[in-house]
Amino acid sequence: MNRVEREQIRNSEFFESAIVERSAGRGIWEGNLSAEFSRAEIVYWAMVGVQIEYLNRDYVRELFTQYSGPIVSACQILKERGQFPFPLPQDWPALPIELFEGGISIGNDASPDRPKETDPQPDLWNTFQHLMLLSSENLLDDETHDFVHSISWTEASQWNALREGSHLDQYSVPSSSYSVESIQLGFAQVTRHWKDESLLLEELLQRKPRRSRDSSKSRKLRRQARELHWATAGPFSNACMYISRHRYNLSNREIVERYFSYAGSLLQQTKDGSAGWLDLRREAFDDLRNLVSRGEASALTLDIPRLWAVFVQNEVPVQSDLAVQSLFESQAHRRIILADSEESEKDKDEEQEEHS
C-alpha cells in the first residue's frame, strides 16, 4: 500500500466515524425530513469523495453494506416524495447510484480526469475534509433538523403555528415537540453553517493551487496540476453546494420568502430604532440573500423588492398550503439513475433534455 492509499484508508475511517456511523446509528424523529435528508446526503458525499480519490472505493462499498439499513430507508422515504435522487449540476460527472434490498452501490468511472503522475489534489481534499467536518456538526443537530423540517417541508399553516408555538398534535392538543426555542436556535445553526460552507468554497475558488514541495516534478506536471485545479474546483464546489443545500428546498419561492420573513421577525424583536440597528438589518438582508441563492436556488431569479418587503415588514406572503405539498412531486431528476426505475427515468431525462 503506498502513501496515498494509506491516507485514503485513514480518510475513509474518518468519514465512517464522523458521518456514517454517527448518522446511521442514531434514532431520528419519525417524519422529520431534514434528518432523512442528512442520511441521504451521505450517499452523495461518498460519491464525490470517491471521485476526488479522497475516499477508498472498496472501503465505501463495505460501509454501505454495513450501514445500509437506515441510509436506504431514508433514500426510499425521500424517493417516495420525489426528493431522491438529488439533482446535481450538469458540469459534475455524477455516478449512477443504485438502491437495492440491503445495500447501495455507486457506479464506477466518471471521475474528474487527472494525470496519473500527479498526486490527488490536496486543495480539493482539504476542502472536502472541512466540508465533512462542518457537515458532521450539522448532521446530528436536533435544532437544525427541527428548524429545517418546519420551515422547508411543512404546509404554510403548520409552519406559522410552529414558529408561534401554537401547533397542535394529532389529538388537537398543544404539542410539546418542535419548541419555538429549538426552531430559533436551528435557524442560527443553519445560517452559521451556510456562512462557513460558503466561505470555505469561495476560498477554494479564489486560491491558487499550492506548489508541490516535490521540486523534482517537471514544469509540465506542475502546469497540468494548476490547470486541473481550475478545471475541477468550480464544478466540485458547485456539486457540493447542490448536495448540501437540497434539503432546504430553496428552489421554491414560497420557502425562500419564509426564510426572509422569519429572519425579519426575529430581528424585529430586538428593534431599538438606532442608526446602527437599521444599517445592520440591511446588511443582514444582503448577507441572507447571498447565502440563500446557492445550489439549486442559484437558478431562481429572486424578487428582491418583494423579499425586502417581507423582511422589513414581516409580511406573511399569500401562501397556498398545497404549494409545498405539490413540490414534492414536481422536482425533475437528472443524471442519477435508480436501479428499480432505471429505464423510465432514463427516458424521462432524455425527453427533458430534448425539450430543453
Binding site: 491516507e7 475511517e13 464522523a18 475534509q129 467536518l133 446588511e283
Partner: protein, 277 residues
C-alpha cells in the same frame, strides 16, 4: 502532498475531534470555541495553515490539535468547564485513542496548551481555578511545600494559556455594533435571554468569582504557569470588554474584529505564532 493530519472523532464529547499526525508529538494543543461558535467554524483556518506554514513555524509539526465542542448558549459555564476538564484528561492520558481503528503512535506529551476564543477562555480559566481549588483542598492539612510541589506537578496548572479576545471581564452582547454578519446578528437576537449570555455580563457572579479567585491564586503562587495569561484582543472589539486580570499584559491587533482575531490567514499569521510556546 502537503497534508499530514487526518481528523479523528472523540466519542462522548459531542462534536469534538482531533487532528493528529503519524509523527511523534511533543505537545497537545486544545482549542475551545466561543459563544455560538463551533470547532470547525472557529478554528478551521488552523487546520490547513499549520501544515502550509510548517517550515515557518516548525513547532506545529510536533503538536497534536484537539477541538473541544460544547453547548455554549444554554449550558452553564461551570458545567462546561468540568466537561472540558474530562476532555483534557482523555487527551493527556491518550485514553481517547482506544476506540480508533487505526491508532496513532502512543504519545507522551511534554506540554499542554489551552487555546480559547471569547467564552472558551472563560471555560479554560475556570478549569484552571477548579483544579487549583481541588488540589488546595486535598492538601489543606499538609505543609505548604507539599502543596507547592503538587501544584507544580499538575499538568493542567503547568499548561500554557493562549487567550483570543477572552470574555473573562464580560461581554457587551447587547450592542449591535459588533455584529457584522447576519449570523452573529441573528444569533444575538435569538439568544437575547439565554442563560450563558447572562453569565457573560460584566457584573456576573460567575465572572467576578473567577477573576478574584485567579488573581488571588496568582498572587500566592506566581510560579504556577496557568494562573497567568497575556490575551490578544482585536482593535476594535465591540463584543467583549478588552481587559484582563491584574498584572497581565495585553496584546493588540489593529484591524481585527472579535471574530477574526483567532483566525489565521495568509495575510495574518499572528495566531500561529501566538499559540506556540
Amino acid at each position: 502532498m502537503n497534508r499530514r493530519r487526518v481528523p479523528a472523532f472523540i466519542p462522548g464529547y459531542d462534536k469534538s475531534y482531533a487532528l493528529v499526525s503519524d509523527d511523534n508529538a511533543l505537545r497537545a494543543v486544545v482549542f475551545v470555541h466561543g459563544f455560538g461558535g463551533s470547532p470547525t467554524g472557529t478554528w478551521r483556518d488552523f487546520h490547513s495553515l499549520v501544515e502550509e506554514y510548517s517550515s515557518v513555524f516548525p513547532w506545529w509539526r510536533t503538536s497534536d490539535l484537539f477541538f473541544f465542542s460544547y453547548d455554549s448558549i444554554r449550558t452553564p459555564i461551570r458545567f462546561n468547564s468540568t466537561r472540558l476538564a474530562q476532555f483534557v484528561d482523555e487527551v493527556w492520558s491518550g485514553q481517547w485513542t482506544q476506540q480508533l481503528k487505526s491508532k496513532p503512535k502512543k504519545r507522551t506529551y511534554k506540554d499542554l496548551i489551552l487555546a480559547g476564543h471569547s467564552e472558551g477562555c472563560v471555560l479554560i480559566r475556570r478549569l484552571v481555578l477548579d483544579r487549583f481549588e481541588e488540589i488546595s483542598n486535598n492538601h489543606a492539612r499538609k505543609p505548604r511545600a507539599k502543596l507547592l510541589s503538587a501544584l507544580r506537578a499538575d499538568y493542567i496548572l503547568r499548561s500554557y494559556l493562549r487567550l483570543f479576545a477572552p470574555a473573562c471581564c464580560g461581554t457587551n452582547l447587547s450592542s449591535w455594533i459588533g455584529f457584522i454578519t447576519s449570523y452573529s446578528f441573528l444569533l444575538s437576537a435569538i439568544t437575547a435571554s439565554s442563560l450563558v449570555r447572562n453569565e457573560l455580563r460584566p457584573d456576573s457572579t460567575v465572572l467576578s468569582t473567577l477573576k478574584v479567585g485567579t488573581e488571588k491564586a496568582h498572587a500566592q503562587y506566581p510560579g504556577v504557569e496557568a494562573f497567568y495569561a497575556e490575551p490578544l484582543f482585536g482593535v476594535p472589539d465591540q463584543i467583549v470588554v478588552s481587559e484582563s486580570y491584574q498584572g497581565e499584559k495585553i496584546h493588540w491587533e489593529r484591524g481585527c474584529d472579535h471574530f477574526a482575531i483567532c483566525k489565521p490567514k495568509y495575510v495574518y499569521t499572528r495566531p500561529l505564532d501566538f499559540v506556540k510556546i
